[in-house]
């Protein structure tokens, strides 16, 4: 696509983004969005109460009107009054979902107790997926995946809760190797994988988190996935300081052998000033890799600052084994009411990454070193009225040193955009157009797609679509050009509130073969 067209796409997105937002007749979001500053201005109010009206007096507690501030409240006085004398209490309270229309209503901002949690002691989600694939060259593959995620007990009521997520994968063809799938690489045709299995203790003095078992920590600079213990304090002081530590055996689901790899880490998080948040991480990893034993120490510092409502800047810096590793920064603006999101991002890898512990490894065994690079990104997403939503973005990566550019270290530019039309031209209909273009010298990947969905009735949805991908890449000094066309149709049905069923068929026409795929999936939420 010519450079001018890209520039036009960006500017058009900008104009469309700016012109978007709900129309005056929109019922989805308020007409005007209040772009409040984080620090709400305190208003000194001299009003002495509500205007006099000819309404019967109600037994509502007086309100401390002068202490009102925007972002503040009018406190209900008389907190010591027995519950039985409170309006609404005698009648068992009033449903919060039922607006009061009777001036004699006993409800005054809802004086009823919160209903006791009705959550079951055992709840979760069970999904099972059957997947059949076959080709015109008589290759066939059948696999089944069954995933259970469950929570036990309730943190509000019980001192102990538990969570488990696991999956059983079965190769119904008996460990065949017809078509690639990770399940084919295991020794057994049936494989169990445990992703999470931990117990939380809630009533430990001074500690906000006490977790034992197989768990993941996503807030660390890299995801820590281990079998062990995590402890975290409750917020301390006005800065809400939180300190935590964790450690245990590193979880290795795909290594296929018992491991004594381990990790330990610690972190501290606080809110040093209004709208700000800071986090410090330390992680020690030990891993026995193909190329020898690795020990790595990772330090991370992260800062977040809310500049205004919806406007945030954040950044993170890490050091690995005493050397600067990477730095990341991002400026985000998000207005949910206007359905507008803007984001600018920057990332720079400062040091070459070679063989490292698994959590840090840049696929060294396959792709070799990851050389330093920097990357800019911009994204804009907005709703246009009730029915349209558009998103587009650009990513640009440059390897620091041209001499490092090679097979697996490349400069690239990526441009993507998608447009969604929902409930137009008639209710229940939606159309999505998407495009994703990667350009990296002699390698380009272009993808264009269309998805059409129609709600048949409240519980049934029919979708169909197609997407086309063009891969152009160099293979042994010859430029390959491979087309991939995929067509699919999908039906989803919700027979009950807690059950989802999905049946889909996919036809994939590639330069390698013609693939057919059938998926049947059921999800039960309990």
């Amino acid at each position: 696509m010519a450079p001018a067209r890209w520039l036009w796409l960006l500017v058009a997105t900008g104009c469309a983004t700016g012109a978007g937002g709900p129309g005056p007749e929109s019922t989805d979001v308020p007409d005007e969005v209040t772009l409040d500053a984080v620090e709400f201005p305190v208003r000194e109010v001299t009003a002495s109460g509500p205007p006099a009206v000819d309404a019967p007096a109600v037994d509502a507690p007086a309100v401390d009107a002068p202490a009102v501030a925007r972002g503040g409240h009018a406190r209900l006085q008389d907190p010591e009054a027995p519950a039985g004398q409170q309006p609404g209490a005698a009648e068992g309270g009033e449903s919060a979902a039922t607006p009061a229309t009777d001036p004699e209503s006993t409800a005054a901002l809802g004086t009823t107790q919160q209903p006791e949690s009705a959550e079951s002691w055992f709840r979760g989600r069970w999904s099972t997926r059957y997947w059949l694939r076959w080709t015109d060259s008589d290759q066939k593959e059948q696999n089944i995946y069954s995933t259970l995620s469950a929570d036990l007990f309730d943190a509000e009521r019980d001192g102990i809760t538990a969570h488990v997520t696991g999956r059983v994968v079965g190769d119904l063809d008996g460990r065949s190797q017809n078509l690639p799938a990770i399940v084919n690489t295991f020794d057994s045709g049936v494989v169990g994988q445990l992703f999470d299995a931990y117990v939380d203790f809630h009533d430990v003095s001074g500690l906000g988190v006490v977790r034992v078992g197989r768990q993941s920590i996503y807030d660390a600079p890299v995801v820590a996935f281990f079998d062990g213990v995590r402890l975290e304090s409750e917020p301390i002081g006005s800065r809400e300081l939180i300190v935590g530590a964790y450690g245990g055996l590193s979880s290795r689901i795909y290594e296929g052998q018992t491991t004594d790899d381990w990790m330990t880490g610690a972190y501290a998080e606080l809110r040093p000033w209004s709208g700000g948040r800071a986090r410090f991480d330390y992680l020690h990893l030990e891993d026995r890799t193909l190329f020898g034993n690795e020990e790595n120490d990772l330090l991370g510092v992260g800062l977040w600052q809310q500049l205004a409502e919806g406007l945030q800047i954040d950044g993170e810096y890490t050091m690995l084994d005493g050397e600067s590793r990477d730095v990341r920064s991002r400026l985000s603006y998000y207005d949910a009411d206007a359905d507008l999101q803007l984001q600018l991002s920057y990332y720079q890898l400062l040091e070459t990454q070679r063989n490292l512990s698994l959590e840090l490894d840049p696929y060294f065994a396959i792709l070799q070193e990851l050389f330093p690079y920097y990357q800019f990104g911009a994204m804009a997403s907005t709703g246009l009225g009730e029915h349209f939503q558009v998103q587009s973005g650009v990513d640009i990566r440059r390897v620091d040193d041209d001499d490092d550019v090679g097979q697996f270290n490349r400069d690239y530019e990526r441009v993507y955009a998608n447009l969604t039309v929902a409930d137009a031209p008639w209710d229940g209909f939606s159309l999505t157009l998407l495009g994703d273009f990667w350009m990296s010298g002699s390698r380009t990947i272009d993808t264009l797609g269309v998805d059409v969905t129609q709600e048949i009735d409240e519980d049934v949805e029919l979708a169909a679509g197609t997407y086309y991908s063009l891969y152009k890449f160099d293979a042994f000094a010859v430029t390959e050009r491979e087309d991939v066309r995929t067509y699919y149709v999908r039906v989803t049905h919700e027979p009950t509130e807690n059950v989802d069923l999905e049946l889909s068929y996919e036809l994939e026409d590639t330069d390698i073969d013609l693939f057919h795929g059938l998926r049947l999936r059921g999800v039960w939420r309990f």
Partner: protein, 351 residues
């Protein structure tokens, strides 16, 4: 080879605008957003609450249903004319006459700053009955010379007030159903429309502290994992598994790390034979040499063949062969080669 020559001017031809032009485009994007967002802030005729308050008018004199109904009771033209019919003259500017604020059907033309979504439940009556002053939520309108966004009340304000008004003996409900008729375990926020499945990741990464769309209100950490383990990206089709993922990874391996660690990739590569390893790829013709180059380890062959003898261990030249000789005068013409001549310098391996 030109393929791997990073400084080849030809490969520097960009299909995108220069960084400068791109920066201008991005600035135009941001400027467009800011311009339109800000320019709409003060549209329409300005209603001066301050002037009316100075005349002794109370809130409920114009908003007459606020103490008897759920709705705030926005004034109608007839109510305004009760006073203005005796006040306005022919010299009164049109923008200051009540008719400027109403359309032909008698409806307000000004955007409703405080208008809530239809699925939001809110009763002014209940709040008035709690003897909350209007200013508690809308600020001191007696000083307002123009209605602006400051009169609107955000979800954060509502929840803060509900929370701070609660006492141990009296809880002011603050759950979603208190104000939202649509939200629930099977009712997603309206922001979750419009291709949410595709774009929610960007919203999550925005990581704002705002309440709206705060994922933890409805979702647990496990929710994300459950869905992501069950649903693959659209790009992960059969071609992707066979060949496409290699092209993607060679361009941007970081995108793979969102879901996969190296043990996942190693496992599959240990077991799977690449599609290219067919025909004369191996012995005796060893066509794989066509893809080789120095240094060996930067070749994709190393992905699997980590233990293969280094090509630097090729048989050395006989003592009477010197580097300046033209090897191909004999080898490949009179003497057959055990491998394909890839055109490179024989001395690179046969030292």
């Amino acid at each position: 080879m030109a393929l791997l020559n990073p400084t080849d001017p030809a490969r520097r031809t960009r299909r995108l605008p220069t960084p400068k032009a791109l920066a201008i485009g991005l600035l135009a994007t941001v400027a467009g957003c800011a311009f339109f967002a800000l320019s709409d802030a003060d549209s329409g005729p300005a209603f001066n609450h301050k002037k009316h308050a100075e005349e002794g008018l109370e809130c409920d004199m114009c908003h007459d249903t606020v103490s008897s109904e759920d709705a705030p009771g926005m004034p109608v033209l007839d109510a305004c004319m009760q006073c203005h019919s005796g006040i306005d003259t022919e010299e009164t500017p049109p923008e200051k006459q009540p008719s400027a604020f109403f359309d032909a059907d008698g409806k307000l033309v000004n955007p409703r700053r405080t208008r809530l979504s239809d699925e939001v439940i809110f009763s002014h009556l209940r709040h008035v009955n709690a003897e909350l002053d209007c200013a508690a939520c809308h600020g001191d309108m007696t000083e307002s010379e123009r209605v602006d966004d400051s009169v609107a009340v955000s979800m954060a304000d509502c929840m803060a007030c509900h929370e701070q008004s609660s006492t141990p003996t009296r809880q002011v409900p603050n759950d979603c159903a208190t104000c939202h008729s649509h939200l629930g375990p099977n009712g997603a926020p309206q922001t979750h429309d419009h291709n949410w499945q595709r774009r929610h990741g960007q919203v999550v990464r925005a990581h704002t502290d705002g309440l709206v769309n705060q994922c933890s209100l409805c979702h647990t950490e496990a929710s994300c994992q459950d869905c992501h383990r069950d649903q693959q990206p659209q790009s992960h089709n059969n071609y992707f598994r066979l060949r496409g993922h290699g092209v993607h990874a060679s361009v941007d391996r970081e995108s793979c790390t969102a879901c996969h660690r190296t043990d996942f990739c190693d496992r599959c590569h240990r077991e799977s034979v690449p599609l290219s390893h067919a025909g004369s790829f191996g012995a005796p013709r060893n066509n794989h040499c066509l893809g080789c180059h120095e240094p060996l380890r930067s070749s994709s062959c190393y992905t699997c063949h980590k233990d293969a003898p280094s090509h630097r261990m090729a048989p050395p030249k006989p003592p009477d062969h010197v580097a300046s000789m033209n090897c191909r005068l004999c080898h490949g013409v009179g003497l057959t080669l055990p491998h394909v001549d890839n055109g490179s310098d024989c001395n690179a391996c046969h030292r």
